[in-house]
Structure formats: C-alpha cells, structure tokens
Symmetry: C2
Subunit: 293 residues, 2 copies
Amino acid sequence: MKKLHITIIGLGLIGGSLALAFRQNNKGCLQVTGTDADRLTREQAVKLQIVDIVVEDVCDSVRDADLVFLCTPVLQIVPLVEKIAPHLKQGAILSDVGSTKQYLQEELTKILPNHIHYIGGHPMAGKEKSGITAADKDLFRNKWYILMSGAKASSQAIALLEELISSTGAILTTMDTGTHDRCTAVLSHVPHLAAAALVNLLEECPDPGHGRQLAGGGFRDTTRIASSNADMWADICMTNQEAISDSLEKMQIMLQGLNEKIRRGDRQAVHAFFHNAKMRRDELLACLPENSD
Amino acid sequence: MKKLHITIIGLGLIGGSLALAFRQNNKGCLQVTGTDADRLTREQAVKLQIVDIVVEDVCDSVRDADLVFLCTPVLQIVPLVEKIAPHLKQGAILSDVGSTKQYLQEELTKILPNHIHYIGGHPMAGKEKSGITAADKDLFRNKWYILMSGAKASSQAIALLEELISSTGAILTTMDTGTHDRCTAVLSHVPHLAAAALVNLLEECPDPGHGRQLAGGGFRDTTRIASSNADMWADICMTNQEAISDSLEKMQIMLQGLNEKIRRGDRQAVHAFFHNAKMRRDELLACLPENSD
C-alpha cells in the first residue's frame, strides 16, 4: 500500500507536535514532510527527528502531499495558500490549526481551486512554551480537536482527516465557524485580553516594589496566558474582531454593574456575583476531559 | 521558662495552618489553643491534632493568651474583637490575617483598650481548597507575610510577633495599610473580580454545549480564583471599596482603549499591548520567591 504523504507547514509547537503524533501512531503508513520559513527551526526539525523529510521551499514541500497542514500564525495563512495553491496535487486535502475560523474559511474558499478539499481545524491544546523544542507527541491526547462543518470537501476527504486526527489521541468534534468564533471569543480571546490588561494594570500600583511582594499564586495563574506569543494573539484579534469586541463590551457592562454594587456597599449582590461564578465554574470543570489544556 | 500561650480564633485553612506551623517549629515552647464557631470544625481540630486545646467559648479561649490570632472572614473581625476585648489579658498581642488592612486598623484602634498591642498581618499564602482539612504546616514557607506598620504596639510586642511568624518559614515584610490596600486591589482583588466576570460571561456563549469543548487550560487557569470562597471575597470588596473601585475603573478604561484598537484593526497597537504585558509579567515573575502562592 502506498504511504500517505503529509506536509506540515510551520514547525512550531502545534506543527511539530502534529508531526510527532502522526508518525508515532501510524508507523510505516505515512511519510511526514516538514517546512518552516525559519532556517534554525528546519535544522532543529532534522536534529530532533520531528519529521521524516525537511524541505526548504514551501512550494516544493506540498507537490507530493495528500494532506497539507497549515500551522503558522493566522494572518500568514491566506498569503501562504495563495502561494502554494498552484502546486497542490489534484484532490489534496488542506487543513489548518488557526484559532479563528470564519475569516479563514471565507478567504480560503475564494482562493482554492475546486479540486482541493479544505477543512479547517482547531486543536484545543497548547502550552505556555512555543517553538519546535516544545513539540510533544502527546500534546493532543484527550484534548478536543474541532473540525469545521460546512467545509468545501468530500465525505471521503473528511473521513481521512478525521481518522488521522483521531490517531493522535484527540477527541474529535464538529462546529460551524460562526459558533466556533463566538464561543472562543468568550472562552479564550476575552480571557486573554483580560489577563494582559491585569498585567498592564500593574503600572497603577502605587508602590511597585512592595506590590511585587503581594503578587501571589492567584495573580500568577490569572495572568499566565499573558505570557503567550504576542504575534499569535494580535493575529487572533485581527481575525475575530466582531465577536471579540462584542464579548468584551458585555464583560465591560458586567464589570460596570459589579463596580456599582461595590460602591454602594451591596454585599448581598456582590456575594451573589461571586457565588454564581463559583457554581458555574465548578459545573463547567466537571464536564472537561481530564488534563484538558 | 513559662510556655507562650497562643489562641487562634477561626480554624480554617489559614488559622489551622498557623496552628500547625507554630507547633511544629516551636516544640515545647508554646501552647496553642483553638476555637471556631463551627462545632464540626472544633471536632476536626481535635481529631486532626491541629491545636493543643480546643475551647468552645471564644471569650474563654482568650483569657490566658499572650498572643491572639483572628483568622475569620474580614467582616466578622470587628464584632469579634468587641466581644473578646474585655477578656483579653493585660498586654496581650492581637493580630489578624484579613486581606484588607486599613479598615481593620482604623476600627480596631477605636475598640481596643490601650494595654492591647494590635499588629495587623496578611500572609500571602493560600489554596483553592479551604477549611481545616486543607491546613498545612508548610503553607507559609517561603511566602511573604506582611505586617502593618503604624501599629498600636510596643517594639517588644512587634519583635515577639515577628519571631513567631518567622518560625513558620515565611518571609517577613512591613507595609503601611494604605499602600497594602491599594496594591492588593491591583494585584489580588481586581484580578478576582475579572476572573469571576469571565466565568459569568459564559452566559453570553451562543452555544454552551459546544462552548464547554472550547474551555481549555487557559480558561481554567485564568478563572481558577473564581472558585474561591464567595463570603471571604464579598467581605474584601466591602472593606476595600475605594481602592478596588478605582483600580477597576482604570482597568475598564484600559479595556475600552484595547477594544477601540481591535475595532479599528490596529494590529501594531494590539501587539504592543500584548508584548508589554508579556514583558512586564515575565519581569515580575523573576522577582517572586520560588513556589510563591
């Protein structure tokens, strides 16, 4: 049987981990080619045996691929697809791992020739560390991996992609791009903005020297995601503007109301706000897969 | 040499951990009496050997004490001190572990007789779990323990309290109540409000079933403190209203500005906001004691 040829473009944490997971769990059945714009990353991919073959030129890397995974920051994906589209094999499957999906599905549908099957994806897996050296073959195990419905793809192409994703140990689910983007705004993007704002609020601390002594585990955890990659998050904000902006406004209204309750000394209402949050969070966590990240 | 008599009122996580740490690190030199309004907690204090003696009546518990630690939620402290004040020994030292300090120092100074030495304290230690069963003799080790300056206390009383606190392995520091309250508003109280608001924002998620699948490690960490005790946090908001409200307004202005940058698609400005937060946080964490909580 002919080996399945997979190409991964962008060998960072997610791209590198996909390569490792695919190879580990499908030994002998597939060949993984990797490419990255960064020379050092390509060298590390060889040295750390992340992929089977490293190719420098992105167009060369996709010519022979049955499946191509785009694992670059979101705003690089559209120009990248414009560049590689003429070099894709007839009937190739294209997927990506970007955190915002509606923008990508709309733009890529315009660009791609009809014979290419595009199915957007979003693995709910990550680490504070980024880059190829953080790649981990078990990154996706027991984590949700969301594939977009309404894809421009045949059912055979979808089935093949699903089979491959499942081999990483991820739990597959399907969502439409609009729901995905509005939900991630609430569950991921706005929390990120809030974490960054809480850190930047430190400049309002009247005594930074003493202030540092008061930064405990609560502050560290609440702001952990503010240490993530600024480029990736700026791209997310630029490609999910409406949903993020709407959710942020709702959060602002909520905080405004809470502030009024505090100002007028309404302990009962403030208590209800905290109690409600505690109940809701405890209920949500009970539904998450174990070790979900 | 006569044993030092210590009474701990409120045998929750902090009170119970103080009792364990004092006894563990000063064997034979002191006697720790504990009391709690809750019968079950008193029974557990005996069973788990948290204190040397459990006393039911709070007034009885303090008669013989050289030092008294108040470890109840903040709003219970003033009525509690009104109740026990007539029963305190001449020259006794009184401290507390409340998270807001200016309100307590002002109120307690009005109530306490002149012969009592009051020095407010705030251990920067905690856990998500609360209650006596979470008590831990090493909870304070390598954590900041802040004592308030401007205390109504003799230098001998302050020195004795400092010696005792140091025996738990905590790192002592001093701060005035105003600085403490304004800094904790920024570093602890507003992050708590934001975490609770982020959880409550879930009701804006257009598809809660799918939304749950998108709640990853970022969401879990950012909102961890929203699972804390609602009573404790409502009390904090009621006793540090001005500083919390001011800091929350500054955060609101910051989020408003960020939202405008997102709406107008200003990637550079959004990137700078995230980059600034990342730098600031990484710099802050480098200054924290290891395993600080």
